[in-house]
Amino acid sequence: MTPTPVTPAAEPFTTVIGLEVHVQLQTKTKLFCGCSTTFGAPPNTHVCPTCLGLPGSLPVMNRTAFELAMRAALALNCQIASFTKWDRKNYFYPDLPKGYQISQFDLPFSSAGHLDVVDPKGAFSRRVRITRVHLEEDAGKSMHDEAAGVADTRIDLNRTGTPLCEIVSEPDLRSPQEARAWLNELKLLLVYLGVSDCNMQEGSLRVDANVNLHIPRPDGSLAKTPIVEIKNVNSFRSVERAIAYEAVRQFEEWQATGAELGSAPKQTRGWDDPAGITRAQRHKEESSDYRYFPEPDLVPVTVSEEQVAAARAAMGDPPSVYRGKLAERWSITPYDADVLVNQGRDLVAWYEELATLTGDGKVASNWMQQDVLRTLNERGGTIGEFPMKPAAVADIITRVAKGDFDTSRGREIFATVLATGRSVTDVIADMGIAAVGDDELETLCHELLAANPKIVADVQGGKEQAAAGLIGQAKKKNPNVNPAKVREKCLELIRRG
């Protein structure tokens, strides 16, 4: 069953959403050992005594992991604790070879931050508070072929011990769309700052969503439905869908049972993407008794205010700041700045080079959005793989600005350069595009006026727009002419009589 789409205005409830996001930090090695974190290696090839949890093995903290986690926390406007320690979270699972996960419990290294999400079209603007950000190790991978019946589960421990940043938000989001937009903003931020590649296909970013509803009662009080944690959501689109589904499901359940928050322990439901539904997961009562206690194999970490200041200074601008700066620097609209910044740091750098070379940020932005980005979307790949360099596109834009040819002719050149791989100059020569001289233009216009007495009469009678009829004919006679110049010259000649 898929939920009937409900328009927000029609919803008799508010969806309350908190997110828990795990991101893999961009380190070369694991959190506590020197094994590689590269994705996609054959099973159990990136393992050592420490990440296998062999008897006698010990963890030693990866400095880069801590620094990246701190950068993430600072970017999320968190307070950095001056003293932090790690704890053991004890539970049995075959992908957790030590029988405990090294995590942070009562003294995470950061807390109390926020990340804003603003819809560029103005649909919403939300400050989402961050409860905490902490640094922990990942578990391994269990693979089970259910179709094959009750065979063994295979365990690959390559991922075990990979550094993760856990980011927990307060329940401040109010719609599935907001949740998705916020996740996009979070991902952009973390990728911008080099904290994580946030590749969801490779498990570098994982999301759990805590969802419940606030339903106004006739007496003005609020009914709150029990909180459900949705797990196993593999894309931001799925997050949006899963929350939307869950909201309707909870509303229907509330209507049927009247169950409210506090009447049952938090339920965990898994998102079944193909079916488009959430399903209740088995949840053992005792499994939440993790018996946390301080990890005796690691020593605490202290962070001074100077270190925090230095990390902040080295961090660079987050996207939210960068959007404003970009809009101001190149005189583009906030919407345009948003589109460009959301494409990531490399594309922004490409744009800024283009804007610098052409001296016109607005035109450069148009070309980025209408031509470069469209082509990238069609072809796939990153801006780094784009076959043209900013200088080549700038060459076309500059020639258009000089009036050598018009924008649509420029687009043809752009497309031909992409298709043939030849240089802009060569393509212009191949297409026979040459700047039309003043004398040549005047001769052409005289010919046109002579051949179109009706249009001349109309213009003389005050209908200047009739001159448009000359442009198509001019293009036929000489495809290199600039339509604006033809129009201008013809009007001048008619006025002159």
Binding site: P49, L54, R88, P97, R291, F293, D297, L298, V299
Partner: protein, 500 residues
């Protein structure tokens, strides 16, 4: 003197001088093991061929004029809690029977780099939990002074093999007294260094905030020699200290004049055997004669040491031993077969059955007891009352020591309340067994160092142990004080009357 009776210091210089070969030396001890260990059961693994090959390699290098390490040719027995690539490492547990680690413990690697030869892995209480060595899955160790008695534990095999001259030195580990107590009961010298002085990497963890590896030998001088090889910073152990390691054995000669020794009044309470008390008092007299002064000091929270220890250690152990679950290494119960019908309740899945049965069938009773106790004390609703409470008392105990060390340089007293007790005497009463550690656990809780050595014998001919405890990183002072005592007495030279 027979080769097997020589001290480590003598052996090392004899091999270096070419008076004896490494092969001769190792052979003498291997022969002795072959002769005696049927009675003592100190070893869980010996590999004559492999050990002789390693000794031969050292001889060859020496003959070729190549450099040899500072412990070249010295046979060392290693507690089976330390990982070795060339011997199984079982922690005397069925759970790890036959387990062969893919890496050497840092201490083992250091010994090998010094060209010591590992002659075998020694018996112990399972996962180092016990004070009598009766918790070994592979049978108890017998005290060489009286084979019907326990050698102490948990490093009972290491203590007994040195006492019986089956190895000149052994490596032990001490979580609550597991080096010092068996050393005391077997009449040898056992040294528990400051927490972090010796790397724990490759020591199968019992209680990580308490565990420390140390040497066990016939004398403090031999302990000093071994400490030089095994102590030092290990970047692979985040809790390993970076302080430079002194040349302990070069620093033993300084006299003790002016040394202030604290006599702990709380040690003379109920449970202290009068013969032990007498032996300890005589030891104080020896120190006085050597120029030290003796002062009464108080450790007001000493009596809370055992309850504090028996919360903290089991809590950490319950987590450290979670990895033995039948999934990735070690013993896995054969599912769907055997005895599952006898268990209370039913397993909700084959995975659950694997976990619960592998652990039930792989661990012995004391290990299970401590896992249960630790799991309970950390579980929701009990953490504050038990685990957190114990951590607070731990601080009080540490503060007692810090305060005492403002007045005195070292603290002294008995190692254990009684001499070696008969095998089986305490096996039915876990609490009685726990009390054998009453004088030793404080050292571990405070993270400081301690050394135990023989200071006399009972009428029945059992060794009496004396303990010195020092502030953090007072290794040199502890070794020097014990060495001075041994220059003035010959208790440590007495050999058990083991008939072959």
């Amino acid at each position: 003197m027979q080769l097997s009776e020589r001290s480590a210091t003598e052996i090392v210089s004899a091999v270096r001088a070419g008076d004896i070969s490494a092969v001769e030396c190792v052979t003498a001890f291997l022969d002795r093991i072959e002769l005696l260990d049927g009675k003592v059961n100190a070893f869980l693994a010996v590999n004559r061929e492999q050990t002789l090959a390693q000794a031969a390699d050292i001889d060859a290098r020496r003959a070729a004029g190549k450099p040899i390490g500072p412990l070249a040719g010295l046979p060392v027995a290693v507690k089976d809690a330390l990982c070795t690539t060339d011997f199984p490492t079982t922690c005397a547990s069925k759970m790890l029977a036959g387990y062969r680690p893919p890496y050497d413990a840092d201490v083992v690697a250091r010994l090998r780099r010094a060209d010591a030869v590992i002659v075998g892995k020694t018996n112990m209480d399972e996962f180092a939990m016990g004070g009598s060595n009766e918790n070994s899955a592979f049978g108890p160790v017998h005290n060489p002074w009286d084979l019907s008695r326990a050698p102490g534990g948990s490093s009972g095999g290491s203590a007994a093999c040195v006492a019986a001259d089956m190895a000149p030195v052994a490596i032990g580990s001490d979580t609550g007294g597991s080096i010092r107590q068996p050393a005391g009961l077997c009449g040898i010298t056992g040294f528990k260094p400051t927490y972090g002085r010796v790397s724990r990497r490759g020591l199968v963890a019992f209680a990580s905030s308490l565990d420390q590896i140390g040497p066990m030998a016939r004398s403090a001088a031999d302990c000093a020699l071994i400490m030089e090889a095994i102590a030092g910073h290990d970047p692979g152990d985040a809790t390993s200290l970076t302080t430079t390691v002194p040349s302990y054995s070069q620093l033993l000669d300084e006299p003790l004049a002016g040394l202030r020794i604290g006599r702990v009044t709380e040690h003379y309470g109920p449970g202290l055997d009068p013969e032990v008390a007498r032996g300890v008092d005589e030891a104080f007299a020896v120190f006085k004669a050597a120029g030290a002064t003796v002062h009464d000091v108080e450790l007001p929270h000493a009596k809370y040491g055992i309850p504090t220890y028996y919360l903290i250690a089991p809590c950490e152990a319950s987590s450290n031993l979670a990895r033995y679950d039948g999934a990735h290494y070690g013993a896995r119960a054969e599912l769907g077969r055997g005895t599952s019908a006898e268990y209370v309740g039913s397993f909700e899945s084959p995975l659950m059955e694997m976990y619960c049965r592998s652990r039930a069938e792989g661990f012995g009773p004391e290990v299970k007891r401590r896992i249960m106790l630790g799991t309970y004390a950390l579980s929701a609703g009990y953490y504050e009352a038990f685990y957190a409470k114990a951590l607070r008392v731990r601080r009080l105990i540490q503060q007692d020591f810090l305060k005492a060390f403002e007045k005195v340089d070292l603290i002294a007293g008995p190692v254990s309340p009684t001499p070696a007790f008969p095998l089986g005497e305490k096996t039915g009463d876990p609490l009685a067994m726990y009390l054998v550690d009453m004088y030793t656990v404080g050292t571990n809780l405070a993270g400081i160092g301690g050394i135990s050595f023989p200071c006399g014998f009972t009428k029945a001919g059992l060794p009496i142990g004396f303990q010195l405890q020092g502030p953090a990183l007072a290794e040199t002072l502890l070794l020097r004080s014990a060495d001075r005592f041994q220059r003035l007495t010959d208790w440590h030279r007495r050999r058990p009357p083991l008939s072959v």
